[in-house]
């Protein structure tokens, strides 16, 4: 595992933004968890809570010219990339005005204007699509990067290994950001990943790689920064493995019997990126509790509004069933 060690210290303003993002995600997911339990959420949702530092730290380095390829655990990255909270919520509720007009749903959150690319049904496919975004960026000399978020389980899809190699061969400005949350569905990463170390796959496919603690915003911020800067400056792809706990089940409704008793409580106690960040902001960056509490309150209001609007939104226009199958309809 190559060591990436340029210092990327976040600014005080950057920390405020990061906290706001992470808190927003946490608050959103907790609310969604409650709404789901109350039977008010259609379809299937995968919560991101616990992994917030990953999306927040990565997005802190991304500009408008960059692409972020999402996974099915989509809410957190979509929020971090700045997608409209109301449109996100409406999409999860499969209503009119949703990010994808209610045709995609929770796993497919996508906002083309923000270059936030929604996941496909098959996990891991974003790795190859990101190579394509990177190709387009380079072709247009946009000085951008494409980041592919990947779950640990998804890394066992062949297309991901192929993409690692292709990105190296083509020296693409891509960062493969693996969010290793310890599980793929009900199977532990320690079973499914030979060697239990995804970072090791980087060098095997010609890329620098690093592994960081996803509970530590600062660590993720640095590792993502180094990898993204490397790609942006023509240094080619790299891999960052982010060890981030999953605080809820694989999807809502999952009884999680495959986890040890007390496992989640312990993770919440010891590896909560949000409380850790908050503490460090207070201890090392002179944020006041009041200031942070005010942010929290503001976010609570936004979340309330998003859920209220989503719940009140009408279903999509029935004509959408046959719309947007093709862009060019001549001859059809």
């Amino acid at each position: 595992m190559t060591e990436l060690s340029t210092p990327y210290a976040p600014s005080r303003e950057g920390l405020r933004g990061a906290y706001r993002t992470m808190r927003r995600i946490r608050c959103f997911e907790e609310r969604l968890h409650a709404e789901f339990a109350a039977g008010r959420v259609p379809s299937s949702v995968h919560l991101y809570a616990g992994q917030e530092a990953s999306a927040a730290a990565i997005c802190a380095h991304l500009g408008a010219q960059d692409y972020l390829h999402n996974t099915h655990r989509a809410h957190g990255p979509a929020i971090a990339r700045g997608a409209d909270l109301i449109a996100i919520t409406k999409e999860i509720y499969l209503r009119a005005g949703g990010l994808c007009q209610g045709k995609g749903g929770s796993p497919h959150l996508h906002d083309a204007r923000l270059r936030l690319i929604g996941a496909n049904g098959g996990v891991g496919s974003g790795a190859a699509l990101a190579c394509g975004s990177a190709l387009a960026i380079r072709h247009r000399q946009e000085n951008g990067v494409a980041v592919a978020l990947l779950g640990d389980g998804a890394c066992n899809q062949g297309v991901v290994s192929e993409s690692f190699n292709l990105a190296s061969v083509w020296k693409l400005p891509v960062v493969f950001a693996i969010e290793n949350n310890g599980y793929a569905e009900a199977t532990a990463t320690s079973y499914a990943i030979a060697g239990d170390n995804l970072a090791a796959r980087g060098p095997a496919f010609g890329m620098p790689s690093t592994r960081v603690d996803g509970a530590d915003y600062f660590a993720v911020h640095e590792a993502a920064g180094v990898a993204i800067e490397c790609a942006r400056s023509g240094g080619g792809p790299s891999l960052v493995e982010i060890m981030a706990p999953r605080f809820y089940g694989h999807y809502e409704g999952d009884a999680q019997k495959y986890r040890a008793p007390g496992e989640v409580a312990e993770l919440r106690r010891t590896r909560d990126c949000l409380t850790r960040l908050r503490q460090r902001m207070i201890d090392e960056y002179q944020f006041s509790t009041a200031e942070i509490d005010a942010m929290d309150a503001e976010i609570g209001v936004d979340i309330d509004r998003a859920f209220a609007e989503a719940a009140a939104a009408p279903p999509p226009d029935p004509a959408l069933l046959m719309r947007d199958i093709y862009a060019d309809r001549s001859g059809l």
């Binding site: 259609p42 379809s43 299937s44 499969l94 209503r95 209610g102 045709k103 995609g104 749903g105 796993p107 497919h108 496909n120 049904g121 098959g122 996990v123 891991g124 389980g153 998804a154 066992n156 899809q157 062949g158 297309v159 599980y183 793929a184 569905e185 009900a186 199977t187 532990a188 990463t189 320690s190 079973y191 499914a192 990943i193 009884a255 999680q256 019997k257 495959y258 986890r259 040890a260 008793p261 496992e263 279903p315 999509p316 029935p318 959408l320 069933l321 046959m322 199958i325």
Partner: protein, 335 residues
Amino acid sequence: MSVKSYRAAIREALEHEMQRDPDVVLIGQDLAGGAGGGGEDDAWGGPMAVTKGLVGKFGRERVLDTPVSEAASIGAAVGAAAAGLRPVAELMFCDFIGVCCDQILNQAAKYRYTFGGQDQVPLTIRTTIGAGQQLGSQHSQALYPLFSYFPGLKVVVPATAYDAKGLLATAIRDNDPVIFCEHRLLYRLREDVPDESYTIPFGEARIVEEGGDVTVVALSRMVHVAAEAVRALREDGIDCDLIDPRTTTPLDTDTIFDSVEATGRLVIVDEAGPRCGTASDIAAIVAEEMFNALRAPIRRVTPPYAPVPAAPELERSYVPDASRIIAAVRSVMER
């Protein structure tokens, strides 16, 4: 005999076949669940809870949880079948066929033929199909027509718990690769199912209703929707034959032909797509072989030529319902 769900009937068939033949092994994601974790074993018993309890009875050597690697896992199942095991591999959603279809369409389907008949490939691939859960374009398809395209595969689309149990036993004992398509909306369907093991031969359609005015062929969950339509039509004096082919390869054309011979009218109801799908397949065969008997256009009731949308209102208008079937039957009765 006891009341069982479609899910339980499938589980029973798996259990019976595993008891019967030690070479039957299960391969798939989270068939037990909990591998490598600190919690319970058999924590999921399959993503759809179909295989629950089997790891406790047969152990992890015969209930093999896999990484999220369908190409390698299904490829391994093909290799194991050719080497003499009788694997039952699970492909969680048929929509994921895209990541492992070389293994299915090229390797499993053509193994015996390409190598001049030296081997057999007694592989069963269980997969799930269907819309109705707001899972969107890539978790809602009914892709069995793709499998029917390829000679060398057999394709099963059970509509009832009884059929699911008997046909799965046949699939596992069959010496060819069989794709067994379970409709997720049927898992909770409950009916009387024998407790003991039994088989149902491939290529024998089930005559669900006898009518005589119109032949209605329906597959998988559409059998139930068509049955609803047929009941409503009967009250209006239109009596339909309702036929469930149960397997699309082999396809029991005899039963369909006999019915069309008598009715002269055919409506095919299918949740697979309208182009190059099973409805087209049956329509083409009948238009070729039974033209002289036909008295009206062959109507196909399928989803539109569109991906599956997630929103429930859109999805409901995507999947064929009884009213569309009734309209199609009425339209062919006008002739």
